[in-house]
């Protein structure tokens, strides 16, 4: 039996490593570097109803062991993705998870209805946590009532299981998770980026043209691990963990915290071969730590936290 194999609603993952949405495009660039069939799955860049240009540049800024980005959901639109991006991905033996975003509930429904019917797509990742767009995005992801309502509507039109991508920019992520679980979510992906800002002291102005951006990278990993740990104990649905994963022990940390699979984002920019390297490094590290199957350690770090938020 494959010791890395993970089964989740709609997803048959040969290993728990998935490039995170927005950090891997639609796979075309990375397919020139290695065989994408090695991957457990691929979370493709967010789809919106129409083509979007996104924000002005600069769109990225580095900070201590982290990266701020404000791309603004640039994408060719759901029809463009179905016509030009999914056919390319169909050649790979890996599970495609389509990230869906929108400005209104109707847009989320339209995009989900269309993209979930494509046979290449195995699951939907409902993006209610993008901090870089004016309307929609995170606005749906910071109010439990709105998040639950949107989850219900999207579930009703989706052909495939729906994973809700949670924002860490909330008072209680546990409350958010429980709300979308009750609304019918099949799984959770967490965490999206934390809202941040950097200022160029030579100009006295924010570096990002959008002024604010989402912080990702190793700087946020302990926050992600803590949130996964708290949420995993409060819900029954599975979690795909993400937030600053750079090395094989980070993957194990997320699974100990309660994740069933792990997405890798910013690390792809530092080392474009990172997902491939993590997949090949996992068995050796598991041997060293005496782990037979990857999910044997899932949630093994559970316990009460004094301050639960």
């Amino acid at each position: 039996m494959n010791r890395l194999h993970v089964t989740l609603p709609g997803l048959n993952l040969k290993n728990p490593i998935i490039p995170a949405s927005g950090c891997f495009g639609f796979g075309e660039e990375f397919a020139k570097l290695y065989d994408l069939s090695l991957l457990g799955g691929i979370m493709i860049k967010a789809a919106t109803g129409e083509e979007r240009y996104g924000n002005p540049t600069p769109r990225v800024a580095e900070s201590g062991m982290g990266m701020l980005n404000a791309i603004g959901l640039q994408n060719p639109g759901v029809d463009g993705i179905i016509a030009h991006k999914l056919p390319f991905l169909s050649q790979f033996d890996t599970e495609v998870i389509a990230n869906v975003a929108g400005s209104t509930a109707e847009e989320y429904e339209t995009v989900t209805r269309r993209i979930s019917q494509d046979p290449v797509v195995k699951a939907i990742e409902l993006n209610i946590s993008c901090p870089n767009v004016k309307s929609g995005g995170m606005q749906f992801g910071t109010d439990p009532m709105m998040a639950a309502e949107l989850t219900k509507r999207v579930k009703a039109v989706s052909d495939k299981p729906v994973y809700v991508k949670l924002s860490p920019n909330v008072t209680s992520i546990v409350e958010m998770a429980q709300a979308v679980e009750q609304a019918g979510a099949d799984g959770l992906t967490m965490i999206n980026t934390l809202v941040g800002m950097r200022i160029d002291v030579r100009t006295g102005q924010p570096i990002l043209a959008n002024r604010i951006g989402g912080l990702s990278g190793p700087a946020i990993k302990p926050i992600a691990v803590r949130m996964i740990h708290d949420v995993a104990q409060a819900v029954e649905i599975p979690i795909i963990g993400m937030g600053g994963v750079m090395e094989v022990d980070d993957v194990l940390e997320m699974i100990y915290a309660g994740a069933s699979a792990v997405a890798v984002g910013t690390a792809n920019f530092v080392n474009p071969f990172i997902c491939q390297e993590l997949i090949s490094a996992l068995p050796k590290r598991m041997d060293e730590l005496g782990i037979e199957h990857i999910l044997d350690i899932r949630g093994k770090a559970y316990g009460a936290t004094l301050h639960r938020a």
Partner: protein, 243 residues
């Protein structure tokens, strides 16, 4: 795609500017105008233009501006650099006509890739001239190296070296049919619509992945779409991009 470079020499060539010559794992023939995405700094890579390649030696010239370039300037002979690349598309040195009349226009940190470009043009037997703009005399670098390749004019904003003013003060468009330029955005804008038939601009942008996946370095185009600086550029025809 990822290679380890070994630092061979490092020297300061102007105020705050460093020349770093590194050994490549093997002899490479790299198109001028492409870049290397170097893993220096706390996390993200830094796109650094290629100032020269000879045999298995590659030269970077850069100004210390942020954490990444400061770290790069502190490297010593024997140190290794993790380099992703070469990436992007360079100047069309192999596609210009032999009888082309080419001017290379560089501003400050945009000067380095033009040295390698001029060397390659001269190798092909194509006559070209360089106009190099700096802010002040102490910032000027590689003037002699350029002069060894062909006619070179230096401009400085404060007039402490060469012609006073910006590069455009020294540029006579009617003498040329092709322009290759690299430099800060205001400089590129000033030459973008100049009356020279073929104009190629190397643009700069903050990058993430460097391979076209993250959409950090997009640049709008006149047809309402966009190009990615890293994978579609960094060299574009002047009419292709909105600066």
């Amino acid at each position: 795609m990822i290679q380890l470079l070994t630092v061979v020499t490092r020297r300061q060539i102007a105020t705050g500017a460093t020349e770093l010559i590194c050994r490549l794992p093997e002899v490479a023939d790299i198109e001028p105008g492409r870049f290397m995405h170097l893993r220096v700094g706390p996390l993200l890579r830094r796109p650094i233009s290629i100032a020269n390649v000879e045999g298995d030696l590659i030269t970077f010239l850069f100004k210390e501006i942020g954490q990444g370039t400061k770290e790069l300037a502190r490297l010593r002979p024997g140190d290794q650099i993790d380099a992703l690349g070469p990436l992007g598309n360079g100047f069309p040195v192999h596609h210009v006509a032999r009888e082309a009349r080419i001017v290379l226009v560089g501003g400050g940190i945009g000067v380095p890739p033009l040295y390698y470009t001029m060397r390659k043009l001269v190798e092909r037997g194509i006559a070209c001239e360089a106009i190099l703009g700096f802010d002040t005399a102490s910032s000027v670098f590689y003037e002699d190296e350029f002069r060894a390749l062909g006619p070179t004019t230096v401009t400085t904003v404060d007039g402490t070296a060469g012609i006073r003013g910006f590069v455009t003060a020294a540029l006579e468009p009617n003498r040329f049919d092709t322009l290759f330029a690299c430099g800060p955005e205001p400089m590129l804008r000033s030459v973008q619509h100049i009356s020279i038939e073929h104009k190629f601009l190397s643009i700069e942008n903050r990058m993430g992945c460097g391979i076209g996946a993250c959409f950090a370095c997009v640049c709008p185009t006149p047809d309402g779409h966009y190009v990615k600086t890293c994978s579609d550029g960094p060299v574009f025809r002047a009419e292709e991009v909105i600066l």
